[in-house]
């Protein structure tokens, strides 16, 4: 069962695992980010655990909390039909973590997407560049402090995109309203 998998993991990597739980049928382990490659390699190469598929790799941004980001690895074993979730904690001042793209082929694009959307750099990744957005884009949109209704056009637009809203945003209380149509 998955519960004993977590117990084996905790026994082997005592220092790195901060918390483990089994809420809502999901076996989760909260780990420190330093030895993440070893932990994932152990889960993958072990004969009985055999987590051979990386189901999903994503990140969550908890804005006003330290550690700010958590990179989520959802691993699955097609032979045992078991799933385990690893959550690696990342602080706001050091948003890097080691890449697991040499272990799973799907991690290549998934890590590029996390870089694109959240700004977490993966060390030793063969191709660390944006995947869903274009190279000239500035910022990392899925971070909680990125405003949704911004506009970074690539071509010269024929007219303003959002009429009233953009004027409203440039309007500051106390300043003269004359120059707001910019």
């Amino acid at each position: 069962m998955s519960a004993s998998d977590i117990k084996r993991l905790v026994r082997k990597f005592k220092n790195d695992i901060v918390d483990s739980s089994e809420r809502l049928g999901m076996d989760t382990a909260l780990v420190k980010k330093d030895n993440i490659v070893e932990i994932v390699q152990f889960l993958k190469d072990d004969d009985k655990l055999a987590y051979n598929m990386l189901r999903h790799l994503t990140c969550v941004d908890y804005l006003h909390r330290e550690p700010r980001f958590e990179v989520i690895y959802v691993l699955y074993s097609t032979t045992n039909k078991q799933q385990v979730v690893l959550k690696a904690m990342i602080n706001a001042d050091d948003t890097t973590i080691d890449s697991i793209s040499h272990l799973y082929g799907s991690a290549n694009w998934a890590e590029r997407e996390v870089w694109d959307m959240y700004g977490i750099k993966f060390n030793h990744h063969p191709n660390m560049r944006r995947i869903l957005l274009y190279e000239e884009f500035e910022g990392h949109p899925l971070r909680k402090d990125y405003d949704k209704q911004t506009s970074q056009p690539r071509v010269q637009l024929l007219r303003q995109e959002r009429d009233a809203f953009e004027e409203f945003k440039t309007y500051h209380v106390g300043e003269s309203a004359e120059g707001s149509r910019s």
Partner: protein, 181 residues
């Protein structure tokens, strides 16, 4: 077609409706399909809601050979330069139909990624609302476009003749009208 610009006025007024009639009933589309509206576009071109009865069946996947640009689905900022390039590569006469609400105004994607309507990038003739529009709506829009084409004057594409007239009358400086580069 610069020839019809040179003909005397009497002949062009008889030729205009004929040429427009030919243009409106043989539109070669360029389906710039991106998203969910593409499914309704497929329904429109197939057997039940047949677009072939309007003469607009053939999708020509080269902009040089097409005259109707169907922008089907959401256009985002990453794709915008390609849409502009395709539009600029099309030869005149050309028309643009914004198919679906994402192409008309950005739909309900009011965020950093989506262009809020393709009329911010290229000029549009007909807007079809709907998410996605029913095939009958698309055919209605096609008929409205055909009406618009029927009432177009020949002069619409007479850029060269209008430029010569303007320069001859001294309205514009000939230097300013030269194409860049």
């Amino acid at each position: 077609m610069g020839l019809e610009q040179q003909l005397p006025g009497f002949i062009t007024s008889k030729l205009e409706p004929a040429v427009n009639w030919a243009r409106k009933f043989s539109l070669f589309q360029y389906p710039f399909v991106t998203a969910c509206c593409g499914m309704e576009y497929m329904s429109v071109s197939c057997a039940r809601y047949d677009i072939a009865r309007f003469g607009a069946e053939i999708p020509r996947f080269s902009p040089r050979q097409a005259d109707l640009l169907f922008v089907v689905g959401t256009v985002n900022h990453k794709l915008a330069p390609f849409l502009r390039k395709v539009y600029e590569q099309m030869t005149e006469p050309k028309w643009v139909v914004a198919f679906g609400v994402c192409a008309s105004t950005g739909g309900f994607y009011d965020n950093y990624a989506t262009v809020q309507g393709i009329d911010k990038i290229i000029p549009v003739d007909i807007y079809i609302p709907g998410c996605p529009p029913r095939p009958e709506q698309v055919l209605d829009a096609l008929m409205a476009l055909q009406e618009k084409i029927q009432n177009e004057p020949f002069d619409k594409y007479a850029y060269e003749r209008r430029r010569q007239v303007a320069v001859a009358e001294g309205l514009v400086d000939a230097e300013r009208l030269k194409p860049p580069g």
